[in-house]
Amino acid sequence: MCRLCVAALLLLAAASCSLDVKLHDDEDEDEDAMFQTPGGDVRVRVSGRALVPGVRAQDWIASARVLLDGDKHVGFLRDDGSFTVSDVPSGSYVLEISSPTYRFQPVRVDITTTGKMRARVVNYIKTSEVIRLPYPLQMRCIGLHSYFIPRETWGWSDFLMNPMVLMMVLPLLIILLLPKVFNPSDPEMRREMEQSMNMLNSNQELPDVSELMTKFFSSPKSHGKAGGGARGHRGGAPSARGGASRRKMKD
């Protein structure tokens, strides 16, 4: 048991050690990419690599550029897809790869006054939000630009699946086909249908919508000065269903 513990500790120590080493490595790299101008302000080199899977670099790098904040700073791509933008003063920049064919996600690069760098996801609304991205940058193509919209083509399926057509065709089918399926003159069938209608209209007490409406509109007292809304109030407390149906009528 104890031995295991020791082993775990050792492992932890090793891990932290390697972490430390890594951090140092990072800093070393930063130092390497940093320049001091005589004025004292820091100039750094932003580097990274852009990848278009399945396409030879020669076919796209000649027309692509690396842009920092528009064309404030410009970098070019090497034939392995890597790039560096030299001579960048401290600040926060949006780095994008502009290619007329391939699309890349832009990345925000922050450079401190001491020359430290980090990359994060661009968020224009919550500008202080930090979702870190690896640095040196790994820019991956997220597809082709889709500049064009497809032409509207005319096909039978589009025509048939059109809601208007469906609305017209289905009732037509029902009208034509229903009488053929069952014979309404058959007494047994008629009885069955009546039963099912009663089932649907189970609550006999509830006033019928159409009845209610006729009652409202035929009421001899209510015509003249009062508006529709006032009329509704006067007609007692109509059930929710009645109200809804009235709204429907207005439409």
Binding site: A62, V74, F76, D87, S98, P100, Y124, Y147, R151, W154
Partner: protein, 944 residues
């Protein structure tokens, strides 16, 4: 149900309001031309005989590879603008090209076949002096860069620095040139003006100083202009005063005196007052410098000399020849003899400039005779590529890389079209003649149509290749919908172009000589083509930026010919121009020019015009902007063409400075006076034609305290209609002012993003005076609505679409640094966009507010035809209400049409004629058949 419909309408309008390009429309009505700028360095790929590459570096910070057979671009790399991207030197070795950029800040090596970067290194600061390839034993391995106070040597294959050394006494000695021989040494030559030359020898391997010597040369003031290295390491200098040449072998340690050779000994004499110039081949270790060199004695007198064994021999004297055509001959450098059959006659364009640079590529042909190609660059930035025997292979008009301003002019009617149009304008002269006239014109139309059909038929029989579509001015005429126009482009070099907007063909060009490099141009169309038989007339005001003095150039925009009209001379600096709607008896609009004493000059200034001006003087107002004093002032014209000050607005320059002032475009039409709201009331627009939008920026550039201000000022009364400030914002501000709105873009320095802001002005629910707008009589201040949005990209330029009658919805055209042009519906920039969706806002089709503006790739009107460094977008209405013509210019020129509300007034080009006609025919036959069937049925029933 209603809300569903509204939502559907919104989604539909969202989907289709934007003008997008269909894939089959590519190249149908749009074109792009790519340019590079004025060539500073050009190198032929001499590596192999069949190579077509021509590498060029230009003053526009462009490094490109041209196809020398066609003049097309293989690839082009556009660096950042300004001195930081300036290309200082171009060296080529094998497949690699080494470029020094940004005053010696960067050293880049390019792979020239693909156009990919090989390596890039940052050099130490210090102003760049010279760069050279350095070799060891005929093998070029290094490149040396000389700065003002340091020299560094870099490996050619990786770019890594081999060594870098500070130069001795760099504060007193000006080091200017670098030379490397074959013996593993690098020589750096410096000068103390009017005292001595310093020569420092460095060892290639480790940068150790091998030798340092100084040579007396009290007469010399600059190495670069008077010296050259010829033969194997001989420094040759020329002195104007003593009229003599001086030679000095660089490598010998003991010789510390320059040897003087009098030019009189060679029977040569320098023209008085001319500074002689020495020209030799660029020293290159792979190819030792020739011992022959040129000496220029007067502006057009060159001689070819040879340096051999310490002696100078005259090989050939090129005395000046005065002709209209230039001829190019190939001479042998060894003997000075002319090669046979190598003369190319170069015809100079009478409307162009003189040639000023040649780039020659000589090669051995298969039969061992010498052949050559030559690229000529002229003053007006035309590149002409010539091949033996005198054939022009291609031409490029690089002046178009720097278009300053442009206009579009309607093409003229043909004779028949003019006749037809004339029929409607005339007063009626009886019924019968009018009928006859009508019939005759219809007959002419029929004739034209038949001729057209015949031509189609005739062309169709010929094989396709032999049918040439050459566009010339004579066959150009206005098309049915006025979609084809003449583009007038004014370039910074002073060259004017007339370009057919449909094909992009240059129809005429005119080089204006003696244009100062810092001139400002303003192009004004005084008379359009509508006034047949008067020719159209354009006026170009050329103004020197420093002195403010201007001159007018009047020309015919269709043919490019200079007009014979007498032009007023402008002895005083011009402050403002004003094109009045007043026309003279020849239908030319009157142009007023206001000078710095506030005196007005009218052009044309005939009696008729002056009379009209006197009548209308009291209603002519103009404004002046003095941004250095932060002063805006309004003036009124008096009857004697003097002016009186009416108002003055001072914006204190300590706090903010005026950046830009814009009125509305004169040719803009507003179709609707107001907007119908959800409750069926009308919100009337505040349509003040005299409104000026003034943009200011704070002088304090600190991130927390900087701001951008906008003032809306009435140009007649000087009343400040509205004022708004964006805090924590800075420029550059781009803005559009149109109808009743102003859209502007600024940089939000707190959140580090671009933001759009829109201001819309409304009069309210009632219109004060609906018949006419008068600035002097508007008691109520307008209601101003404003909203801002985040734009998730940087912006280069901004413009709004324009259509004939203003019915079509507006779009904003945004030029992005990536080269795309975004067509953004104005619908998204509506300050009435609600935060909470209500019934009424749905009724009005208002899109709910969202802080971030969408950018969709379907809205890029130029798909992958990107326009590099787009600087301006020009929009013009066409004869079709749905269509707006767009030209984007920058380094490239792109022309297209946009349909902001889709093509609602013409049949779409994918209109399905077959389906419609088949349905029609089907219905027709169905009725026929059913009719027949019904008849049969009736008959049968009758028989029953």
């Amino acid at each position: 149900m209603a809300w569903l419909v509204v939502r559907l309408a919104i989604s539909v309008s969202l989907l289709y309001a934007a003008s997008a390009v269909f894939e089959d429309q590519v190249g149908k009505f749009d074109w792009r031309q790519q340019f590079i700028g004025k060539v500073r360095f050009a190198l032929f790929d001499t590596h192999s005989q069949a190579s077509k590459k021509l590498l060029v570096a230009t003053d526009k910070n462009v490094f490109a590879s041209l196809n020398s057979r066609t003049g097309d671009l293989f690839w082009r790399h556009v660096d950042k603008t300004g001195p930081e991207g300036h290309i200082d030197a171009l060296l080529m070795y094998g497949q690699d090209a080494v470029v020094v950029v940004g005053n010696g800040r960067l050293l880049r090596s390019w792979e020239t076949t693909v156009g990919g970067l090989k390596w890039e290194t940052v050099l130490d600061t210090g102003s760049f002096q010279a760069a050279a390839l350095v070799g060891v034993q005929d093998l070029v391995k290094y490149v040396a860069v000389l700065k003002k106070s340091a020299i560094s040597l870099h490996d050619l294959s990786s770019g890594s620095q081999i060594w870098g050394e500070n130069l001795p006494d760099s504060d007193s000695v000006q080091y200017q040139t670098i030379y490397s021989g074959e013996n593993g040494l690098v020589f750096v030559l410096g000068i103390v003006p009017n005292s001595h030359i310093v020569i420092v020898e460095y060892k290639i391997e480790d940068g150790e100083i091998m030798n340092k010597k100084s040579v007396e040369a009290a007469w010399m003031s600059s190495l670069e202009s008077s010296c050259a290295v010829v033969s194997s390491g001989i420094l040759l200098c020329v002195d104007q005063i003593t009229q003599s040449l001086y030679t000095l072998p660089l490598q010998s340690a003991e010789q510390t005196e320059m040897r003087q050779i009098h030019l009189q000994m060679l029977d040569l004499e320098v023209a008085s007052g001319f500074r002689p110039v020495l020209t030799s081949t660029q020293p290159n270790p792979a190819q030792p410098p020739l011992s022959e060199f040129f000496l220029q004695l007067s502006p057009d007198h060159h001689i070819l000399l040879q340096f051999k064994d310490g002696l100078i021999a005259l090989l050939r004297d090129f005395s000046p020849v005065r002709t209209n055509a230039c001829s190019i001959n190939l001479f042998s450098a060894d003997t000075g003899r002319k090669h046979l059959d190598t003369t190319i006659i170069y015809h100079m364009d009478p409307n162009g400039g003189k040639p000023n640079r040649l780039y020659v590529h000589a090669f051995l042909k298969k039969d061992d005779s010498v052949g050559y190609r030559v690229m000529v660059q002229t003053e007006d930035l035309t590149l002409t590529f010539l091949q033996q025997p005198g054939r022009v292979v291609w031409m490029r008009e690089e002046a178009l890389a720097d278009v300053v301003t442009m206009e579009m002019v309607d093409l003229p009617f043909t004779g028949t079209q003019a006749e037809l149009e004339g029929e409607f304008g005339k007063k009626a002269d009886g019924l019968l003649p009018m009928v006859l006239k009508r019939l005759s014109s219809q007959f002419i139309l029929l004739q034209a149509w038949l001729a057209h059909l015949w031509k189609l038929f005739y062309d169709a029989r010929k094989p396709r290749s032999s049918v040439k579509h050459e566009v010339t001015i004579d066959i150009l005429s206005r098309d049915e919908f006025n979609l084809q126009k003449m583009m007038l482009m004014v370039t910074a070099s002073g060259k004017l172009f007339g370009i057919d907007s449909k094909s992009g063909t240059i129809l005429w060009k005119q080089y204006l000589e003696n244009i100062q490099p810092n001139s400002v141009f303003k192009l004004i169309v005084q008379r359009t083509t509508a006034h047949f038989p008067h020719p159209p007339q354009c006026t170009l005001l050329i103004k020197n930026k420093d002195t403010g003095l201007g001159s007018l150039y009047v020309f015919n925009p269709i043919f490019g010919k200079k007009s014979q009209i007498s032009v007023p001379t402008l002895p005083r600096p011009v402050l403002q121009t004003l094109l009045l709607p007043v026309i003279d008896q020849d239908y030319a609009k009157v142009l007023l020019l206001i000078d710095d004493q506030y005196k007005v000059t009218a052009f044309p200034s005939t009696k008729n015009v002056l009379q009209q001006l006197q009548d209308t003087a009291s209603s002519i107002f103009f404004y002046l902007v003095d941004s250095s004093q932060g002063k805006l002032s309004g003036f009124r014209l008096r009857k004697d063409l003097s002016t009186e000050l009416i108002w003055e607005v001072v914006i204190p320059t300590e706090v903010q400075k005026i950046v830009a002032v814009k009125g509305k475009r004169a040719n803009e039409h507003v179709h609707s006076q107001g907007r119908v709201m959800g409750d069926r009331s009308v919100l009337y627009k505040y349509l003040n034609p005299n409104l000026l939008a003034v943009i200011t920026e704070s002088t304090d550039t600190h991130q927390e305290r900087s701001f951008v201000g906008i003032f809306l000022i009435d140009g007649v009364t000087g009343r400040i209609v509205h004022e708004a400030v964006q805090r924590k914002a800075r420029g550059p501000v781009h803005f559009v002012h149109s109808e009743n709105w102003v859209v502007y873009v600024y940089w939000n320095s707190k959140f580090r993003r671009n933001e759009f802001s829109v201001l819309e002005l409304f009069e309210g629910a009632e219109l004060y005076n609906s018949t006419v707008f008068s600035s002097l009589d508007r008691p109520h201040a307008p209601q101003v609505l404003q909203q801002s949005y985040i734009f998730p990209a940087p912006i280069n330029t901004l413009e709004a679409t324009l259509t004939e009658k203003g019915i079509t919805s507006r779009h904003l055209l945004v030029g992005l640094p990536s080269g795309n042009i975004l067509s953004l519906p104005k619908m998204f920039l509506d300050p009435r966009r609600p935060e909470l969706v209500s019934e009424q806002s749905r009724e009005e089709n208002l899109i709910p507010y969202a802080p971030e503006m969408p950018i969709r790739e379907e809205w890029f009107i130029n798909y992958n035809q990107t326009v590099s460094r787009v600087r301006g977008i020009y929009t013009a209405p066409s004869g079709l209400e749905s269509t707006c013509l767009v030209v984007a210019y920058g380094l490239d020129i792109y022309q297209t049409r946009v349909f902001p509300s889709k093509q609602f007034d013409v049949l779409k080009d994918d209109y399905d004629y077959i389906l419609i006609s088949s349905v029609l025919f089907g219905l027709f036959f169905a009725t026929m058949i059913s009719k027949r069937l019904a008849e049969v049925k009736l008959l049968n029933r009758a028989w029953r």
